[in-house]
Symmetry: C2
Subunit: 269 residues, 2 copies
């Protein structure tokens, strides 16, 4: 609470009073560019949020009060709030009872953001399809082993459902169902960090990979592999599950890396 001014130790001369007196000649050396006011406000509020001074669910002062407290205009406060909102640190609603509230940490939003960032990075010289598949090949076999060691009745059922759900291969949801098996395995480790590592890759593959050119028989083999892996996990056979997942991903990799499996943009094509 009680937000402090962004800079300006003098209380009689609010920072950013339309036009102010900053512009000291020392700044001409371009040692460092002044950070805009909206950034300073955003940084200050972010520090209060991540520092625990503002707890999850807590309500921020309204925009008018914030603008007065920071000595900036309401427009500037709003730009700062937009930054925080786009980082999922606050959520804003309208109306009486509305306002800006500190958002609860949400892993799924992190996964979404990373997936989005991956979408613009992938297919550049820096990040190729092969890198994604190789990274997945590093994580998911170990995840399958861990899942086998820890699976209880509920997770086993979820994995079996993800592996065995019947689907029409011509239906787009079929492809989604396919990768949802891998997602389920990640989550079955009971380790959120492992899910957050692996899921963005799966998301990018799901949204940017074409299904054209893949024979139905190949998809049947994918299904069969999933069932085998699910059986190993259900039986608690960690080493076997790891091996089966590795073999499966290697086969998938050669399937994916055939030409024409990529789209330029999202799946709309």
């Amino acid at each position: 609470m009680a937000p402090t001014r962004p800079s300006s130790s003098s209380s009689t001369a609010p920072a950013g009073d339309g036009g102010s007196s900053r512009a000291t000649p020392a700044a001409r050396l371009r040692v460092q560019r002044v950070r805009p006011a909206y950034r300073q406000v955003a940084d200050e509020l972010r520090a209060q949020i991540v520092g625990g001074s503002l707890g999850a669910g807590e309500r921020l002062p309204n925009e008018a009060d914030l603008s007065h407290a920071f000595g900036v205009s309401r427009s500037t406060v709003r730009e700062a709030l937009r930054v925080l909102a786009s980082q999922h640190l606050i959520e804003t609603t309208r109306g009486v009872q509305g306002g800006s509230f500190v958002a609860a940490p949400d892993p799924s939003r992190v996964v979404e953001d990373v997936g989005g960032a991956l979408g613009v990075l992938v297919m550049t010289p820096q990040l190729r399809l092969h890198d994604l598949l190789e990274a997945r090949l590093m994580l998911e076999p170990s995840a399958a082993r861990l899942a086998a060691q820890r699976a209880d009745a509920d997770t086993v059922e979820a994995i079996r459902e993800a592996a065995g759900a019947p689907r029409d291969l011509r239906d787009p949801s079929g492809f989604v169902g396919h990768l949802d098996f891998h997602t389920t395995v990640l989550m079955s480790t009971g380790n959120l960090m492992i899910t957050m590592m692996g899921q963005p890759v799966n998301d990018v593959l799901r949204t940017r990979l074409r299904r054209v050119g893949v024979e139905a028989a190949e998809w049947d083999r994918v299904d069969e592999w999933h069932r085998v892996i699910a059986d190993h996990i259900a039986a608690g056979e960690g080493a076997a599950a790891e091996e089966a997942m590795r073999d499966h991903l290697i086969a998938l990799r050669s399937l994916y890396e055939r030409d024409g499996l990529w789209t330029d943009g999202p799946t709309d094509t």
Copy 2:
């Protein structure tokens, strides 16, 4: 180019013209909350960027033109631009020749963002220290094996330097140097995706973990382990590097999980 209006098919009645005519009674059922104009503008521009319609380095129209093109005010455009800038999709500079430019995809920014998001997630019931260490234990041994298989002269030198750099244990930079070895191993895989998976964890451990209570002799053993791993990687002994890294991380885990190694906030305490 040629951005379209956010909604409002009628060209004679710009959306958000101070007061407008929307407010159809059908909306009273709260089927869906209307998205604010700044959000629609941001989404439209984002679609143009990720869709390739606006290439990296390309310049967006200035704020006045954008406000005219979208039929909204400059303030609304600015809020949209703040959202895109905070997602590292654009960069804005002032002055003539300035403006908003489509940013080049930058993996390091993704790593920073994920690290920041991890910082607010960690130490909640959803994500514990043990999860981070376990996830690292899954990734880095395999990464060490891959690094050994691929290391050329330059990367070997970098790894040796990260492992053998002398440091004062009482100096904070010593701790940084310690985890930089693990970062170097990740990067030595030549696979950016693996680095992006593992580095945020290392960042969080570096910024939020205390060094107090750790004996100097234990740090010496950490150094020794790093040297052993570096030797295996330099010799191209993948299996040995993987084993050594695994043993090292297991030992580190028991070291980290002792009481009192966590700080509530960033390292300032």
